[in-house]
Each structure stands twice: as structure tokens, then as C-alpha cells.
């Protein structure tokens, strides 16, 4: 149990996908302007991450068994793209309200480095199936956390009047830098909370 908690917290805080690992930057910078979009995107990403791992982890076992590890990249990305497509169709059919709120984010997630990244990462870490799923959940929640925090930061940025050249993306990035610094404090937490 503690092991899962450790993985979860590590993914959410210490190895936060956006602010530490730099995965999922495009949606992070593009969709974090409003709180609602931030929540929606974060939730959609979390869902896709967990589902993606649920499918790619067993597939990797197959690839390993057949000695086809070099096909990992192709197989994973095609699986993720297909998965998202199917998910969108399923949502539309069976959960229309959910589709109305989250569905619009799904196409943006397909070629999101965060999803492919988490799929590959859980394999590299050598997690077993339950651990990998927990890691995916943690990664998604970390993404959600970063998005929500940053949407608050951007609200404040709207009032700011930086120099001409800094308007828009540059000042947003500087703000992201400061937000990242706030996360640096967590790196010692996991060791001490869950034992070195």
C-alpha cells in the first residue's frame, strides 16, 4: 500500500509531468488560461493516460515475448491514437454529457507527449501492471494539478503589463518558471515521508 502511495505522490509532486519532466507542455500552455478548461483538460488527460497504460502495458509484454521491442514506439502511438478515437466515439454514444464537457479536448491529447511519455516511462521503470496504472493515475493528477495552479497564475497575469516583447507567451513562460520553482521543494518529501 505504501508503495502505491509512494508512486502516486512521486508522480504528482516530485516527478510532476509538466513542471519537472516537461511532458504535455503544449496543452499546458495553450489550455490553462481558464480554470474550467484547465480542469477539463486535466481530467481528460488523466483518463486517457490510465486507459493507455491499461492497454500498452500488456502489449509490451507481448512485444517482449516476441523480441520486437523496437516496434514499441510505433505500436504505442498507434494504440494511443486509436484508443482516443474509440474513446471519443464511445463517449459520444454512451455518455453524452461527459462527451459534451471533455470530448472537445480528446483530439488534442492524441499526440500529446505526456500520454506516450507515461506509457514508455512505466515500462522503463519496470513497474508491474497495478503499479503502472497507479503511476498513470498519478501522472494525470499531477498534470491536472499543474494546470489548475497555473490557470490561477494566468488570471493574475492578465492584469500585468509587461514590456511589449514579453506580451503573451514569454511572460507566461516566466510565470511557469516560478511555478516550477515552487515544486522544487517537493523533491525531498518522498524520501522522508515514505522512508529513504
Amino acid at each position: 500500500m505504501a508503495e502505491y502511495a509512494s508512486i502516486l505522490f512521486s508522480m504528482i509532486l516530485v516527478n510532476n509531468f509538466v513542471l519537472v519532466k516537461f511532458l504535455g507542455i503544449c496543452p499546458f500552455l495553450g489550455v490553462s488560461k481558464k480554470f474550467d478548461s484547465a480542469v477539463g483538460m486535466g481530467a481528460a488527460v488523466t483518463l486517457v493516460m490510465v486507459l493507455a497504460i491499461a492497454v500498452t502495458w500488456p502489449l509490451q509484454q507481448l512485444l517482449d515475448a516476441w523480441g520486437l521491442q523496437y516496434l514499441q514506439t510505433i505500436v504505442f502511438i498507434l494504440v494511443i491514437a486509436t484508443l482516443v478515437q474509440l474513446l471519443e466515439m464511445a463517449m459520444k454514444r454512451f455518455l453524452p454529457p461527459l462527451h459534451a464537457s471533455l470530448g472537445v479536448f480528446l483530439p488534442l491529447i492524441t499526440t500529446n507527449c505526456a500520454v506516450l511519455g507515461v506509457a514508455i516511462l512505466t515500462i522503463d521503470e519496470g513497474y508491474d501492471y497495478p503499479q503502472a496504472l497507479v503511476a498513470g493515475l498519478g501522472a494525470g493528477l499531477g498534470f491536472l494539478l499543474a494546470m489548475v495552479l497555473f490557470s490561477g497564475v494566468r488570471r493574475t497575469l492578465e492584469e500585468a503589463e509587461p514590456p511589449e516583447a514579453f506580451r503573451g507567451m514569454p511572460i507566461t513562460l516566466i510565470a511557469a518558471a516560478i511555478t516550477t520553482m515552487s515544486f522544487m521543494g517537493f523533491s525531498g518529501v518522498i524520501d522522508h515521508l515514505f522512508g529513504a
Binding site: 523496437y70 516496434l71 510505433i74 498507434l78 522503463d124 521503470e125 523533491s187 525531498g188 524520501d191 529513504a196
Partner: protein
């Protein structure tokens, strides 16, 4: 990009659904075959180079060794364990390569233990830590701390970590402790 044929008339519905799938399958098959072919060429090269690099590391750690003999390496985190032999076939040192999770991936360390039970030599191998920060574990100022120590589990208090690179430093320490464990099994 349309699926109309040259006359401009829409193809039969069956063709319209089947054609995209066929094209996709063909592309995947060609890609797979191509990659398989390239893999057959590059994989042996990669393996050979990795082996050559490993041999070089062992030779540097134990300069006087005439040959190396594989030893069991069952500890988790141990990737290689060898006995360094002199020309007469006597064991002059034990070499263990172990790794532990660092910041950017695994941090592999190669340790040579002398027959007297102390660390005769140690090297930090190629890793994915932050360049200029975590990669400093390869510097003598850090890795040199382990040389001459007794081959027993070392605690974090007795090692000076690299400031700003705690995770990498701790990973190197953890890898060292794994190596010690593997050495205990072999000697």
C-alpha cells in the same frame, strides 16, 4: 485527397471502406518489415559496442587483470558481476556493475572490490542525469569518496552529496550498496 476514381464517379461503398484499411495495413507492413531489416543490422552493432565499452570499463578498473570470468548476479539492481583473474587463474578482484534509479533514469556504477574486502576502484558509467549537475557524480570529488572504503553497506551520512544533485548522488550511493550486496554473494 479524395477516394474518387479517375472518372469522377464514387467507387462502390465496399471499396470505399476497404481501401483506407488496406492502405493502412500495407504501410504498417512495409514499415514493420523495413524496421525489422534495419534492426537486424544495428542490433548486433549496438550489442558489440556495449560489450566493448563494458570490457574497457573493467580493464580500467582492474588494470592488472588478464581475463574476466562471469559470476552470478542475482541481487536486484545488479547488471553484471565478474571475477578478475590473473594469468595463473587466481582471483585478483571482483567487479560488479549495479544501478539504481536516479533523476533521469538508471544510474549505473561499476565497482572493483579487492580481495582484501575494500573498494579498489569505482567508475560512474554513462547515465541520463542532468548534464553538469547530476553527471558530476563521475567526478573524482564525488566518486573518489568510495575508494578505499570497506565493502559494506554505506549510509548517506558518511558520503558528501553533490549540492543541487541530491537525487543523482543518492542513486549512486544506492547503486554502490547494491554492488556491495552482490559482492557479498560472490566472494
Amino acid at each position: 485527397m479524395s477516394s474518387m476514381n479517375a472518372q469522377g464517379a464514387a467507387p462502390a461503398p465496399l471499396l470505399a471502406t476497404v481501401r483506407p484499411i488496406v492502405v493502412l495495413v500495407v504501410i504498417c507492413a512495409v514499415a514493420g518489415a523495413l524496421l525489422g531489416a534495419v534492426h537486424d543490422v544495428t542490433a548486433p552493432v549496438a550489442a558489440r559496442n556495449a560489450e566493448a565499452r563494458a570490457q574497457l570499463t573493467y580493464a580500467e578498473l582492474v588494470p592488472g587483470a588478464a581475463s574476466f570470468e562471469d559470476a552470478p548476479c542475482d541481487v536486484e539492481g545488479c547488471t553484471a558481476s565478474l571475477k578478475a583473474l590473473d594469468q595463473a587463474g587466481n582471483v585478483v578482484a571482483y567487479v560488479v556493475v549495479a544501478q539504481s534509479k536516479g533523476y533521469g533514469g538508471q544510474v549505473p556504477i561499476a565497482v572493483a572490490f579487492g580481495t582484501d574486502g575494500t573498494v579498489a576502484g569505482i567508475t560512474a558509467m554513462s547515465n541520463s542525469e542532468t548534464p553538469g549537475l547530476g553527471t558530476k557524480i563521475a567526478n573524482d570529488s564525488y566518486i573518489g569518496q568510495y575508494v578505499g572504503r570497506a565493502a559494506e553497506p554505506t549510509s548517506a551520512e558518511s558520503i558528501d552529496m553533490i549540492s543541487g544533485a541530491t537525487i543523482s548522488s543518492k542513486a549512486a550511493l544506492a547503486a554502490f550498496n547494491v554492488a556491495v550486496q552482490a559482492y557479498e554473494e560472490v566472494r
